[in-house]
């Protein structure tokens, strides 16, 4: 079992995804906020710049054929709204000559209203306003250029970006909190199931009966199916153990009694007879043990093995082959009646062939030769049938024949009485049945029918 502390945590995985999401989103928002903040700051301070430039341009006048500028105080007051920024300005005549202001202000190369530059190496933003004179004495365009360093813009950009990021961060935290709550709520049904299972007695394998959401319903169904299977297997096991103890106790006790007799017997002839009886009973005991184990195995397989597609003809051939090799049955002849076409079926080949062998064994022991094995399709699937020429058991016993140890209690000379019970279990596991009939041509026939699952069904 994996160390519980090293199990992957949904919460941690979710946290990782959220962190990645928020980091990615945060970077995107930061970039966007920075761009937006810069644009907003530029727009607001550009208004001040162009306002100042326009006021200066508007203050240009013609006096005696010469352009004069009487810069209004308000132009500088506008600029001073960016409190810590250095300013520069120049008013240029038509030929680019300096009318007043700083001589290091260069007009832009193109006809832009706003442009970027520097004031003594410090980054700055400039605005140009024009005033066109068309008079007798003077004709031309006067340009007022106003520049300002960008401290206030940078500060405003930072403020806007910062506020946006604080907001995004708060939203991210809120979302994370909501996500944690959502995960908790989502995992609650699981915890309820866990508590339900933990509080059960070890023997309680009844289905879980909890109202759970649809997403968890599948899990609950799977658990219930699994517990059902477990329950059936435990039942089978209980029955097996009960059977085995019941079945084994008598022959073992008998053998022990015989052995005690043999130990006390002094007459060598009678002693040899007792030993012979012990031997016979031992053989029966060993067959019984085989059958018990085989029964257990077959029932286990029927429960546990995934069914596969198979050809029933092969199952019959294998059963007959193995019976032929049994030294106890040497000399008996078994007929195989197989169709040309394969007989498809779905099931467990091993348990089917064991069941078939049981039927053949019964026919050889209790019926009359010849024994024949027939395979063929039926309307709902396929069947394997074993027929002999004897009369078979009376019809009144047919219904009970499949039940465990129904035929005879205790151990018979030839059979442990488990044979038909095994066949019955196998047939049931294959969704079919064990059936008996007297065919019109005479004799007795026992058949295992197998239901073929519908196409597409699991």
């Amino acid at each position: 079992m994996p160390d519980p502390t090293r199990r992957p945590s949904i919460a941690r995985r979710l946290a990782l995804v959220l962190v990645l999401l928020f980091a990615g989103g945060g970077i995107a928002v930061a970039v966007a906020a920075l761009a937006y903040g810069r644009a907003a700051a530029d727009r607001s301070y550009d208004q001040l710049l162009i306002g100042a430039a326009n006021q200066i341009a508007a203050a240009t006048t013609l006096r005696d054929g010469r352009v004069g500028v009487d810069i209004p105080l308000s132009a500088f007051e506008l600029l001073a709204l960016a409190p810590d920024d250095r300013v520069t300005y120049a008013v240029l005549g038509p030929e680019g000559e300096l009318l007043t202001g700083y001589d290091n202000v260069l007009p832009p190369a193109t006809e832009q209203t706003f442009f970027r530059g520097t004031i003594d190496g410090e980054p700055a933003r400039f605005a140009v306003a024009k005033r066109r004179f068309a008079e007798r004495a003077f004709s031309g365009t006067v340009r007022a250029i106003v520049g300002q360093t960008t401290q206030a813009r940078t500060a405003l950009t930072r403020e806007i970006t910062q506020n946006a990021l604080i907001l995004v961060g708060a939203v991210a935290l809120l979302m994370a909190a909501l996500a944690i709550l959502a995960v908790r709520a989502g995992l609650k049904p699981l915890r309820r199931i866990e508590e339900g299972l933990m509080s059960r007695t070890p023997r309680d394998l009844t289905p879980i009966d909890l109202a759970v959401p649809r997403e968890v319903g599948g899990l609950v169904d799977a658990i219930n199916r699994f517990m059902g299977r477990l329950d059936r297997q435990i039942d089978t096991m209980k029955v097996l153990i009960a059977d085995a103890s019941h079945q084994l106790r008598t022959p073992v006790a008998a053998i022990r009694a015989q052995a005690e007799l043999a130990a006390e017997e002094t007459d060598p002839r009678r002693r040899a007879q007792i030993v012979e009886r012990i031997h016979r009973r031992s053989i029966n005991l060993s067959r019984l043990t085989d059958q018990l184990l085989s029964h257990a195995m077959i029932i286990h397989r029927a429960e546990a093995t995934a069914p596969e597609k198979l050809d029933l003809r092969r199952v019959a051939m294998r059963a007959v082959d193995e019976m032929d090799q049994d030294p106890a049955l040497q000399g008996s002849s078994i007929l195989l009646e197989l169709p040309e076409e394969p007989v498809p079926a779905t099931g467990d080949a091993l348990s089917l062939s064991e069941a078939c062998k049981n039927l053949i064994g019964n026919a050889l022991r209790h019926g009359l030769p010849p024994v024949s094995v027939r395979v063929g399709p039926t309307p709902g699937g396929a069947e394997i049938a074993v027929r002999d020429e004897g009369p078979g058991p009376p019809e009144g016993e047919w219904a009970d024949a499949g039940r465990r140890f129904a035929s005879r209690s205790g151990v018979s000379a030839g059979s442990a009485g488990l044979g038909l019970a095994i066949v019955h279990s196998v047939a049931q596991a294959h969704g079919g049945a064990l059936s008996f009939r007297r065919p019109p041509e005479g004799g007795f026939e026992a058949a295992i029918s197998i239901r073929t699952p519908e196409e597409g069904a699991p």
């Binding site: 004069g68 500028v69 009487d70 500088f76 250095r86 300013v87 003594d120």
Partner: protein, 346 residues
């Protein structure tokens, strides 16, 4: 006539060089005689007024020798601008009452940043870019001589002054003085700010013109004139000098105009090429500290309470790029033209 002409020539030559490279009006030394560190201050403040403050500072900084140069405001600006352009011979600290000129130096990138608790505590109008700091508080006042001005005629506002000067037969014709704004940077600043503050300035100029008022230089001379009776009244005189003189001369009366009173904070800045900026900043912080402010108050450089301050409309001249407007070439030319219409040059 010829022999006396030669020294006259020499004087002209000396003046010629003085025009090319301005020189201080006076120098003084404070602190250690053989100092480990030297602090060069160029200032417009009179040595006599500033000496107690500097002596106090020198005592807190053993091993520091302070070279104090007293300059005329326009010369100081020219010298500083030249040092800034040539990047040599800069002072360690500049102090000027012509704050517009210092603001221009800051705007032109000639100052270095100084941030401290003291500078951070300054209000916005007294600290621009952490490069220029207002260190004093000095109102622009009207000074008159009580012997020549009866109490009933003593002006309380500019309107009173205008009314006093308007009559053609006024006793004050030719006897009212103010700064020659061409010669005095501070005078120009006060006059220019006056012109921006109120329309009264036009009437005042007209009244000055009609009454033959006299524009002259500088604070000390003007107050001397009022004290000795050459003038009976002076307008826009720096309150610090006026109060100092009035304390010794009971004839002198000082009035803070009640329509509005301009208040100047003398500014200090550290040139970017200062050789010893550490002591420069230390002096700035000292001037802004409690002991420094007390010393400045004792020298009448910080005048916290003017008479009947509650009635006064105080107009602080803020350290801001708005002051650059007065230094605009065209603006200045126009303003001087207007001034010269009242006070003909020469």
């Amino acid at each position: 006539m010829k022999p006396p002409f030669i020294p006259a020539m020499a004087l002209v030559l000396a003046c010629g060089t003085a025009l090319a490279t301005p020189v201080p009006e006076a120098v003084a030394h404070f602190g250690a005689a053989e100092p480990a560190r030297r602090l060069l201050i160029r200032s417009t403040t009179d040595i006599a007024a500033f000496a107690p403050v500097l002596e106090l500072f020198a005592r807190t900084e053993p091993g520091l020798g302070i070279d104090y140069e007293q300059w005329a405001s326009n010369d100081l600006y020219e010298r500083a601008a030249q040092a800034c352009a040539e990047r040599k011979d800069a002072a360690d600290l500049l102090i000027s009452s012509s704050v517009d000129q210092l603001v221009k130096l800051v705007n032109d990138g000639c100052a270095q940043v100084h941030r401290s608790e003291a500078t951070a505590a300054l209000p916005a109008g007294l600290n621009w870019r952490d490069e220029i700091f207002g260190i004093t508080r000095e109102p622009a006042v009207i000074v008159y001589n009580r012997t020549f001005v009866p109490p009933a005629e003593a002006p309380q506002t500019r309107f009173d002054l205008i009314d006093l000067l308007r009559p053609a037969e006024s006793r004050y014709v030719g006897r009212v003085a103010t700064y020659d704004i061409e010669a005095s940077g501070l005078g120009y600043l006060f006059a220019f700010v006056d012109s921006q503050q109120a329309t009264t300035f036009g009437s005042l100029l007209e009244a000055f013109g009609r009454s033959g008022a006299i524009a002259t230089c500088c604070s000390a001379e003007i107050i001397d004139g009022v004290a000795d009776g050459s003038f009976v009244m002076a307008y826009n005189v720096l309150g610090s000098y006026a109060l100092s003189r009035a304390a010794q001369n009971p004839d002198l009366a000082v009035v803070a105009p009640q329509d509005y009173t301009l208040v100047l904070s003398r500014a200090a800045m550290i040139p970017k090429d200062a050789a010893n900026p550490q002591d420069g900043t230390a002096l700035v912080d000292f001037l802004l500290s409690a002991p420094g402010r007390v010393a400045l108050q004792d020298s009448n450089l910080i005048i916290e309470t003017l008479a009947d301050e509650d009635d006064l409309v105080v107009r602080q001249i803020p350290l801001s790029p708005v002051l650059l407007l007065g230094l605009d070439r065209e603006k200045r030319a126009r303003f001087l033209d207007r001034w010269h219409a009242t006070f003909p040059p020469g």
